[in-house]
């Protein structure tokens, strides 16, 4: 990154390098949230609607996993994907795909835990109605996910926030390679280590602005959706 420019100038001039970093950050974090949602929402719904031995312990563990340390997840994924690791033949270490995998692991428990709570609350509300309509278990899960879709966006946004903000996992499995796996957070870490604190802070402000824009878009979509479906 050209260090003689300030972050403001970089943004105003739509610096191609900065745009590349921003778009990689967004792509990786959104892909991770998409993967995590595919696993996390059905998993949360399943735990919400079924009763099995050890369910309470399962919920406690799921809630606790929301606090998974990114650096530990990064290290575990690194060891898995390393050429000397069990999945080394995939050749994914130091690629954006590896970063998506690590972030998806971090985000899945957050989405699953929040989805479980949301859907369980809805279940209490609609239980009798659904029982009267004689809907099967899979139908119940699908109906409740659909009815809770607006509340579930909050779970997705919490997951996105986690993914976009973390540096510990992506720097280990991505390697912070210039123009390839450098994200906003790893660029901030790098500029800090180069002692260019104003640029690092500037990039931090850009990152926060992007997260606010994503949240605003989600909010707008939610409002529009609510109005549309009455």
């Amino acid at each position: 990154m050209p260090s003689d420019l300030t972050a403001v100038q970089l943004v105003l001039s739509a610096d191609p390098e900065l745009m590349g970093i921003v778009s990689l950050s967004l792509t990786v974090s959104l892909a991770a949230v998409a993967c995590a949602a595919l696993i996390g929402i059905p998993l949360g719904a399943l735990i919400a609607l079924t009763r099995f031995p050890g369910r309470e312990a399962c919920i406690v563990v799921l809630n606790a996993l929301m606090g998974l340390p990114p650096v530990v997840v990064g290290l575990a994924v690194y060891l898995l994907l390393s050429r000397s690791g069990p999945l080394g033949s995939w050749g994914l270490l130091f690629t954006p795909q590896a970063m998506v995998i690590a972030q998806a692991i971090l985000v899945t428990p957050i989405i699953a835990a929040l989805a479980r709570q949301t859907i369980e609350d809805l279940w209490v509300e609609y239980r009798e109605e659904l029982a009267a309509m004689n809907v099967g278990p899979l139908g119940r899960i699908a109906t409740l996910i659909w009815d809770g879709r607006f509340s579930l966006t909050t779970a997705l946004l919490a997951g996105f926030g986690r993914a976009a903000a973390e540096v510990g996992a992506v720097i280990i499995v991505g390697g912070n390679i210039d123009g390839f796996t450098r994200t906003m957070t790893t660029a901030i870490a790098l500029e800090t280590s180069k002692g260019d604190l104003p640029l690092a802070i500037g990039l931090g402000i850009v990152l926060i602005a992007i997260v606010i824009v994503v949240n605003a878009l989600a909010w707008g979509a939610r409002r529009a959706g609510e109005r549309f479906s009455g």
């Binding site: 792509t27 998409a34 993967c35 050429r83 050749g91 659909w146 912070n176």
Partner: protein, 280 residues
Amino acid sequence: MKNRMNTRRSLIALAALATFTLTSPVSAQDKSIVVSSTTSTQDSGLFGHILPLFKAKTGIDVKVVSQGTGQALDTGRRGDADVVFVHAKPQEEKFVADGFGVKRFPVMYNDFVLIGPKNDPAGVKGRDIVAALKTIKEKSAPFISRGDRSGTHAAELNLWKIAAVDIAKDKGAWYKEIGQGMGAALNTASASNAYVLADRGTWLSFKNRGDLAIIVEGDNRLFNQYGVILVNPAKHPTVKKDFGQAFIDWLVSAEGQKAITDYKIGGQQLFFANATVPGA
């Protein structure tokens, strides 16, 4: 019913998106190599200067993962890099002797400098690094150590040994091992007005100097040699040996050596090419 169909459709769309993002860029890694190198080559801006020249000549993309020398060699040992470019000759020779590297080529050198507060509270300014370290220890002046098995950390430990200070035993509250890169060590020294051993390249490009300045420089014992090694394809068949060797050949060629010599910050040369010097 319609609702359920919609849910299914959006789930399928999500799955398609995820699969797409996971699979599409894999084919982009054709003509590229991964080089595990040190924080000093990256933070000093050297790679930013020489890699575009190499790419223009050969079309090979060099992806640099910058770590401390110890970690960079580990990355090579695991087969996660094609080339290692580091600065700790004994560790590099061991890496080759253990069969993880093909051959070590000397590339360039720069030197270490002792950085400290401008007003030099321990009174160690001069050319003699060994005397300076002895005094710092005697006066328990604040000292920041990388503590991360990097090349600079190895050099620092070696200098304590030459100064006859058993740092593992003698370190007190004045000696702080931060376990991070060169930039972080300089940031810490800057914030706590401490002494720190740094490579000249990172120091010259470092921006958050505060009250720090060069205190000791020019001692022969502060010499810092860099070497480059191809990771052994016999150990790791996935190593891109042709591209990797092309990079090494270019670094030690007249053209590569000139590119290194030409890199300057504020008119000061950072690295001195010496691939042709025997025994470097």
